[in-house]
Symmetry: D4
Subunit: 252 residues, 8 copies
C-alpha cells in the first residue's frame, strides 16, 4: 500500500498534500491493521464490554460490528439490558448465568477446530464464571467440554475424568475459596492451563484474593492466571491457544 502511494506520487497522480493525508491514514491503518490481521488470521471478533454502556450504545456498536463479522460477543450484560438489545437485534442469544449476549458463527465443517477446550469448575458456585469462560470459547470457535463440581476436597470426582481432561488441547480451571484445583490439574495434564480465581467464598477469602494467590503460587508448571472472576479472559486465552494449535506455525 505504501508502494502504491509512492508510485502515484512518482507518477504525478497524487499531489503531495493528498499523499500526506493518505500516509497519515496509512499510519492509522498500519495499526488498525493489527485488528484486521487478527480477524483475518484468527477469526476473532471485537468483544464488547457491556458494563457501563447503555443498551443504545451497545446496539450501535453491535450493528457496526455486524458489517464485518458474523460472531458477536458482549460481556457483563445484565438481563434487562440484554433484553433491550435483543429486541433490536433478535439474532443474539443471551445466557443469564454467564451474563453473555452473543452470536456464534455458522462454521462449515472445514472451519471447525479439531480437539476441545476443557473447562473445569471446582464448585457449583463457580458456575457463572465457568460458563462465561465456556461460552466465550465457543463463540470464538472452540468446542468445549465442561467438568463441573470437581473440587479437590473430593479428589476422586476429578480423577474420574482425568483421561478426558488430559486429552483436551488446553484447560480453563475455575475455582474460588482456596483455589487449589489448578495445581492438581496442572500436575495431571501436559497442556497449558489457564487458571481463573473466583471471588466465591467468605471470611478470609477477601473477594478472591485467596484463590488468586494460590494460583499464582502454584508449584505445578504450565499454569498462568487471569484476573479474579475473569471468565471471559480464561475463555479468550484458551480459544486463542486452541486456534493456534489448529492453525499451526508457518516458517517465519
Amino acid at each position: 500500500m505504501l508502494d502504491h502511494i509512492l508510485q502515484q506520487v512518482q507518477q504525478g497522480q497524487l499531489s503531495i498534500e493528498e499523499a500526506k493525508q493518505r500516509l497519515a491514514a496509512f499510519d492509522d491503518l498500519g495499526f488498525a491493521k493489527v485488528d484486521y490481521h487478527r480477524k483475518k488470521r484468527q477469526g476473532f471478533p471485537e468483544i464488547v464490554f457491556g458494563e457501563g454502556k447503555t443498551a443504545e450504545q451497545i446496539i450501535a456498536i453491535v450493528r457496526s460490528l455486524q458489517t464485518s463479522t458474523e460472531q458477536l460477543l458482549c460481556t457483563r450484560m445484565s438481563a434487562d439490558k440484554a433484553q433491550q438489545v435483543q429486541q433490536a437485534i433478535p439474532e443474539l442469544e443471551y445466557n443469564e448465568t454467564a451474563r453473555l449476549l452473543y452470536k456464534k458463527a455458522d462454521l462449515s465443517e472445514q472451519e471447525q477446530l479439531k480437539g476441545y477446550v476443557a473447562v473445569l469448575a471446582a464448585g457449583t458456585s463457580d458456575l457463572a464464571v465457568a460458563e462465561e469462560a465456556a461460552i466465550t470459547a465457543e463463540v470464538l470457535g472452540s468446542n468445549v467440554r465442561r467438568f463441573y463440581d470437581v473440587g479437590v476436597a473430593g479428589i476422586h470426582r476429578l480423577l474420574h475424568h482425568a483421561e478426558e481432561i488430559q486429552q483436551a488441547v488446553v484447560s480453563v480451571v475455575v475455582a474460588g475459596m482456596e483455589g487449589a484445583l489448578p495445581s492438581v490439574v496442572g500436575g495431571l495434564v501436559a497442556h497449558p492451563v489457564i487458571a481463573v480465581p473466583t471471588s466465591i467464598g467468605y471470611g478470609a477469602n477477601f473477594q478472591g484474593l485467596s484463590a488468586l494467590l494460590t494460583m499464582l503460587n502454584s508449584c505445578a508448571s504450565g499454569i498462568s492466571v487471569v484476573n479474579i472472576d475473569n471468565g471471559f479472559g480464561g475463555g479468550y486465552n484458551a480459544a486463542l491457544i486452541h486456534r493456534l494449535a489448529n492453525k499451526g506455525v508457518s516458517e517465519a
Copy 2:
C-alpha cells in the same frame, strides 16, 4: 482444700489472719492447678520457647523443669545455643533441621499410645517445619509416620499413601507455596487435620500469607489451621488429640 481451711477455722485451729493468707495462696494454687492438672492428666511438659533467651537462661529453666518432668522440649534453638546448652545438660538431643532441643520420655509399653500421627509435607523445602511438627509430637509421646514430598502437583504421590494416611488418628499437613495439600488430604481422610502453612515460596507468596489463606478457605471439612511456619503448634495440637483419643472420655 477449701473445706480443710474452713474446718480448721471452725475448730479454732487457724486464726483468721492465717486463714486469709492461705485462701490467697489457695487462690493462686487454684490457677496453678491448671498446669498441674495438665501434666497429671496428659503428661505434657512445659515447653521452652528458645528464641530471645540466652543459653544460660535456658539451662536454668531446663534444670528447674527436670525436677518434675522427664520429657523436655526447647523450640527455635540455633545450633550454637543448642550446643552450649548440651554441654551443660548432655542428655538433650538436638535436631538442626527442626531447630529443636529435646529429651523424649522413656515410656513403658503400657504408656505407649496406640495409633500414630501422620505428618505430611508438600515439598522438600517444607521439611524443617514438618520435622518441627513431627519431633514435637514424638517428644509429647506420639508415634509419627512421615509422608514427605507429596504435594498436589503430582497427586499420585499422595494417593500412593492414601490408605496409610487414612488410618492415622490425626494428620498434620505442612505446605508452602499455594498450600493446597490440606484440602486434598481433608477430602481423603475422616480424622482431624491440622494445617500448617509455611513461608516457603517466592513472589506473591508474601511470606506464607498465600498458603495461610488457602488453608483457612479450604472447602474440605475437618481442617483447622495454625500460624505460618508454626510446626510446633501443628505437632502439639496433633499430640493433644492423639492423647485424647487414647485416654478416652470418662463420664463428666
Copy 3:
C-alpha cells in the same frame, strides 16, 4: 470387593468387559469409600452448603441423603429458603440465628457420646456464629454446653465457669473484635481449643482480620483456627475430636 470381582473373572462368571466396568466403578467406590468409611466409623452425614443453591436443589439433595442417613445438616440457610424446604420435608428443624436447617439423630443411650463440647462466645454479637458451631456439634452427636458473653474485658465472667470449661473434652471459642478469648481459654484448659474469629467489630477490625490474626498468633498452646465466621467449621472439628475421644484408638 476387588477379590470378589477377580474371583468372578477367574471362575468365568464375569466377562473382561464387565470386569473392567466394575473395576472403574470400584475405582470410584474406592474413593467414595472414604465417605462410606467416615459415616460407618463416625456417623457423620454429608453436609449441605445452602448458600447459592435453590430450595428445589436442596430438597432434592436432602431427599437423596435421607435414604442413607438420619442426621441432616444444611448450613447458611436464609429463613425464606428454609421455610420452603420445611414445607416439603417437615421433619427438619430451623434455627434462624445460626441459619441452620437440620435433623438430629435419635441416638440410643448406648450411642450417646460421653463428655461434652464447650462452646464459648465473647460477646452477644458473636452469638450467631457460636450457635452455628453449637448446633452443628449437636447434630453430629455431641452434647454441648454454652458459655456466652464471657469476653476478656470482664475476665471474672469467664473465670466463674473455669472448672466447667476445663472439664469439657474440647472447646470451640468464638470471638470478634480483638479476638483475645481463645488465648485466655487456651491457658486455662488442657484440651484442644478450636478458635473461630468473627467479623463482628468496626473500624480497624477489617471484617474479622483483626480477630483472625490474634488467634493465629496466640501464645497459648493447643489452639487451632478456622476461617472468619466459620461457626460450622468450629463445630465440625469439635465434634470430630469429641467422637474420636469416645471411640478411642484400636491398634493400627
Copy 4:
C-alpha cells in the same frame, strides 16, 4: 511582653523598624512559648530521638539542653553511640535493653509525684519495649512498678497482681504476638490504659500488625494505643497523665 514593646513604641523608645523585628521575634517566642509553657508547668524536657543522628550531633544537642534542664532523655541509642556520648558527658546513664541514654532529675521530696505508673509486659520478649516505657516514665518523674511476664495465656499470673495494678494511677501495657493483655487489664482497672503493641512474634504477626489491630479493637473501655514498639510513647503518655493527676486542675 507585647504590651512592653507597644509602650516603648508609644514612648518613642523603640523605632518602628526595631519594633517590627521584635514583634517577629515575639511571634517566634509566641510559639516557642508553647515549649516553655510545657516545661514550666510539667517539667518535661525536650526528648532527643537518637536514631539517624551522629554521636557528635547528640553531644551538641545534649549540651545545649543541659543549660535549661536537669533531666535528659535520648531514645533509640545503640550501645556504641551511647558510649561515645557518655565519654563526653559522663553523668548520663545508659540502659542497653531499652536503648535509652538518660539522666533523671534529682527531685526534692516535695517534687516527688504521688502514686505510681504500672508497666506490664506480656512476655519476656516484650521486655525491651517495656523497659523503654518504664525508664521514660521514670526520667519524666514518675515512680514505676513493673509487672512482667503476665501474658493472658496464664491468666493467674496477672490476677495475682490485680490489686496492685488497680491502685496505679495509669497503666502502660506492652504485648506482642496476639496482643490481648490490654483488653484483660482494661477490664480489671478503672484508670487509663496506654497499650503498646510490639513486633514480637512470627508468621502472621506481620511485624506487630496483629497486636496493633487487637489493641485498637479492644472491647474494654479506657484503652488508647501508640505505635508498634513505641515504648517511649507509652511511657511519655503515662507520665503526662501521672503528672496531670498530681498537679490537678485550677479553674480555667
Copy 5:
C-alpha cells in the same frame, strides 16, 4: 467482707457449706468490685453498646441500670430504636448526629469538674464522630469545648483557637482523610491528646486506614489513638483523664 465470713465460721454462725457458697460469691464480688470501685471513685456508669440489641433489650438494661446510677449512655443507636426506647423511658435525650441516647447526671456545683475537655474536628464531615466524643465526655461529667472545622489545610483556623485549646485539660482530636490534625495539635499543647481517626474520605483512604496510620506514626509526643470512628472511645478516655486530674492522687 472476707474477715466477716471467716469470723462467722469461727463463731459457728455459718456452716462450712454456707461459707463455701459465700466465698464463691465473694470471689465474684471480688471482681465485680472493680465495677463498683469504678463507679464509686469515678462516677462512671455502665455503657450500653446499642448496635445489635433490640429496643426491648435496651429498655430492660437501662431500667436495671437506673436502680444504681443517674447517668446513662447508649451508643450506636439508630433514630428508630432510640424513639422506641424513649417512649418507654422518656427522661432520655437523643442526639441523632452522634447516635447517642443518654441522660446526663444532675451534678451539684461541688461535683462539677474543673477545667474542660477540648474536642476538635478537622472537617465538617467528621462531626458525627466528634459529637459522639463530646457528648460521651459530657455524660461522664466533663465540660466540653468544641473546635470544629479546624483542619490543617487552613492552619490559621486552628491557630486562632490555640490558646483556648492549650488551656484544656485533655484534647480529643477527630480527623478523617489524611488525619494530620493530631500531630499539629500535639505540637501546640502540653496535655494528653486522644486521636480519633474517621473513615471519612475516598479513594486511597481505605475506610480510615490512612488517618489511622497517620495518627499512629505521629512525630508529636503525648498522642494516643483509638479505633477508626470510635468517638465514644475518644470521649471516654478524655473524661477518664479529666476526672483523674480533678480527683488527684492520694498516697498509694
Copy 6:
C-alpha cells in the same frame, strides 16, 4: 494393560493375589503415565528447582534424569552451587544472570520447532528474569528472539520492533515497576502473551505487587500472568504453547 491382567486371571495364569498387586502397580503407573505421556508427546524434561537443595542432591537427581532425557534444567542455582555441580557433570552450561544450569538437547533439523518465542523486557533491571524465561524456553526446544529495554516510557523503542514481535508464535513480556508493557504488547499482537511481573522497583512497588496487579487488570485480551519474578514459568508456558502450535491437534 488392564485387559491383559484380566485375561491372565481369566486364563488362570495369574493368581488373585498377584493380580491385585499388579492392579495396584497399574494404578500407580496410571498416574506416573502422565509424566511419561508428557515427555513422549512434548519432549519436556523434569525440571529441578535448585533452591534449598544441596549440590550433592542436585548431582544425584541430574544423574538419574540423564538416564532418560538429554535436556536438563535446574533453576534458581547460585554460582557456587552451579560450579560444584558442573565439576561432577561438566556437560552442563551455567548462566549466572538467569541463575540456570542446563543442557539443551541436540535437535535434528526435523525436530526443530518452526517459528519463535518473543521475550520482551521493559528495563535493563528486568534482564535476569527475562533471561530465565528465554533460556528456559530454549532448553525446552524453542527458538527465542529477545527484545530488551522496550519499556512503555519510550514507546517508539517498542514500536520499532512491532512487526517482528507480531510474527512470533507467543510472547513472554517481563516488566517491573509499573508493569505496563504487557498491556501495550497485548494490544499490538494477535497471539498469546504470558506476562511476568518482576520485583524491580522501589517505594510503593511492594516487591512486585504493583506490576502483578497491573498485569492482572490489563484491559488487553489474550494476556495471562505468572508469579512475580517467575521467569521460568513464563518461559515454560511459552514453550508449551509453541510446541503445541507446531505439533497441531489430531482429532480427539
Copy 7:
C-alpha cells in the same frame, strides 16, 4: 499594614489596647491573606466540597462566595441536590457525569490563558472522572482539549493524537484497570503529567489500588499522582500549572 499600626501607636493615634486587638486581627489577616493572595494572583475561587452538605448549606455558602467571586465550583454533587441549588441560584450549570455544579467566569480576551490543558482518558468508563478534571480546569480558566478512549491496549489511538497532546502545557491522564496510560504519555511529552487513577475495574483492581500503584511506580519522569477518582485534584493541579505558565515568574 504592620507599619501603619505601629506608626499610629508612635503618633499616639492608637491606644495600646486597640493596637493589641488590631495586631491579633492582623495576625489572623496574615493567614487569611494567603487566600486573598491566591485569588488576587491566580483568580482561583474557593471550592465547595458538596458531599455531606445539605442543599441549604450549599446555597448559603455559594451566596456568600458570590459576593467576592464570579467563578463557582461545587464538587461531588448528586443530581437531586444540584437541582435544589439551581432553583435557588439559577445561573449555575450542572454536569451530571462529572457531578459538578459550577459557573465559569466571563473572561475578557485579555484574561484568556494561552495554550491548553490536555485531558486524556483510557476507557469510556473513566469518563466521569475525566470530565470532573476537564470541567474543573475550565471553571478555573483553562482551555481544555479532551482525548478520550485512548487506552494503551490500542496504542495507535493514542499515537494518532500524539502531536496535539505534546503541544499542551500540561496533561491530566485518567485511567482505571491497569492504569498504564500515564507512563506511555509521560514518555511522549515534555510537560508535566498529572495522573489520576480511577476505581474502574474488577477483581484484583481493589477499588483503584492497582491503577494507583502503577502510576506511582511509573518509570517515566515528570509524572505526579493524585488520589483515586480525584478528577477534581487532577483538574485543579493542571489549572494551577497552566496559570503559572501564563503568568510567568517575576524576579523574587
Copy 8:
C-alpha cells in the same frame, strides 16, 4: 521533512525503495524527535538510573551523553561506584547524602531561571530524600531554597518561613512518619506542591505507606504525589514546572 521526501519522489530524485527506507527512519525520528524536542525546549538531559548498573556501564553512558549535553545526573549511586566513575570522568561531583553523581550546567546570566524552588523536609531523617530532590532540581537549572526540619509537630518552625515559602514558584515537600507536612504547606501556599513520602519511621509506618496514604488523601488542593523515597521525582517535577513558568506559553 515528510514534504521534502515526497517532493524528491515526485521529482524523481528518490527511488521508491529509498523513500520507503527514509519514511521508516522518519517514523523513528518522529518518536525520537520527542527527546530532541525536550532537550531543545527545556534543556533537560537524559537521567541515568544508577542502581543495577556497573561503574563501567555508567561511564560508557555518561561519555555518550557528554557529546550532546553539559548537564549530567546519575541517581541512586553508591559511594563506591561513584568514586569509580569519578576516576574516569573527574568533572562529576558526588553528593553522598543524596546518592547523586552530577554536573550542573554553566548557565549564562540570561539562561538563569527567575524565582526559586522551595524544598521542605519534615525531619532530619528525611534529609537524604530532600537533598536528592534539591540537587536534582539544581542540576536541571533551578535555584533551590531549603527549609529543613519544619515538621508539623512544631508548627511555628514552619510558619517562621511561611512568607519565603509562599514566594517560591513551586514547592517539594518531603516527609516520613505521618507525612502531614504537605497538607499544611498546601494550605499556606498558592503554587503547586509536589509531595514526596519517605520510608522513614517505624512500626505501623509500613515502609512509607503511612506517609504515602496521608499525602494522597490530603484535603488541601494543589498537591500531587510521587513514589515513596522518590526525591528525584520530586525535584524533576518541580524543575519542570519552574522551567515552564519561566518559559511561558506561546499561542498554540
